[in-house]
Symmetry: C2
Subunit: 216 residues, 2 copies
Amino acid sequence: MTPHPAPENPATPDTGPPNPATPTTTATTTPAQARGKRRRATLLTAAVTLLTEGGFAAVTHRAVAQRANLPLAATTYYFTSRDQLLAEAFAQLVETELATTRTWITHHGLTTLTDQIATADRTRQLGLWELYVHAGRDPALQHIARRWTDGCVHLIATALDLPETNPRARLLYTTISALWLEQLVEQRPLDEARTLLTLALENALPPPPPLPTLPQ
Amino acid sequence: MTPHPAPENPATPDTGPPNPATPTTTATTTPAQARGKRRRATLLTAAVTLLTEGGFAAVTHRAVAQRANLPLAATTYYFTSRDQLLAEAFAQLVETELATTRTWITHHGLTTLTDQIATADRTRQLGLWELYVHAGRDPALQHIARRWTDGCVHLIATALDLPETNPRARLLYTTISALWLEQLVEQRPLDEARTLLTLALENALPPPPPLPTLPQ
DNA sequence: ATAAAATTGGCACACCCGTACCACTTCATG
DNA sequence: CATGAAGTGGTACGGGTGTGCCAATTTTAT
């Protein structure tokens, strides 16, 4: 009953496409709709950028609008609330991150993952983890957090040629993620992390090929 | 030059005692000073409580003062800024947590650590991790984060009778902490975490005692 | 006793926040 | 063309924030 026009779209699924309002005819997308999609996407990437830059508290309606060069009201028009904006930003961040990690692994393998951590944009990672922890308090974000974990486990399992549900792959990911976070937050010397990663990889591969020594 | 009386104590160390202002004579602590200490401590525990309850953003001057049944100005009197308050709350939280974990390990060993996670106050842990990640952006908090990691590594190393610098102990802690955080955020079935923990413990202890089976 | 210093607590300033509101333009469709 | 919905953007409201200010009070030192 509110004169607010757009948000009466109760069927936006979790990873829903940017469809702020369904017109009466669901035919082809009109150019206006296309522009709307673009605007929405712009806002979202602005939110992601802010999230990575200043973390979490930096993602305000005003900041997002300004960063996207859009009026303040656009944020409330395309996103029903700040929470929704944050949730979608989180989801997008996770997808981006998974893609990045995937290409890294296929190009460089697992053994140099620590270097990827060192290479990657530090603040971006911090934003991701910040949101990850926050998901512990907000059930709406929890499934995104799970998606991240599952995605990473999948990457590692395939890289190691293990079945996806193999607990060793699962455990290896867990270890790597902790290494990752620790490195990110505490910024200890990189060698330390590298050593630990190789040790973890050794542990994850149970039978080191039957000892060539001791032929007797 | 500001007429603000108290905070001209530039020598408050990191884990400094609550000594808002040193009188001219540093003799025995007078009862008034004792009351001041108590007030300060009250504020701090109020901050810790709020931090664990609502996380991070819930720790405002007003909320802390109200929780401690003290006037608003007390917070700015005993803590020069909100950041300082948060830092001290973080430090206290870490110390408390370390003590809790220590007693658990000495009483129950490492193998049931997952149950401790399940038992412990979930929101408290979330607050801790929230602050831990935040330490990645605030160098003033970083050494507290390191202190947490080092403390936990120490606990595990002594529990396993390993030298403190043993990378296996280090790695085991890393894995456990990740398991911990994952469980906390994603709330997967507890069995899963238990399985992974035992697997991690197996990995950490390189030579499983010489197989009793296969006597031949 | 008296002055100086520390402490207390009430108050207000300036700022930023999420979000509602509402004229206005654009556009698809009758 | 007319019309009504979708989209746009400027503005305002109510509320919460950190922190500075200051008069009153208590404690300490002389």
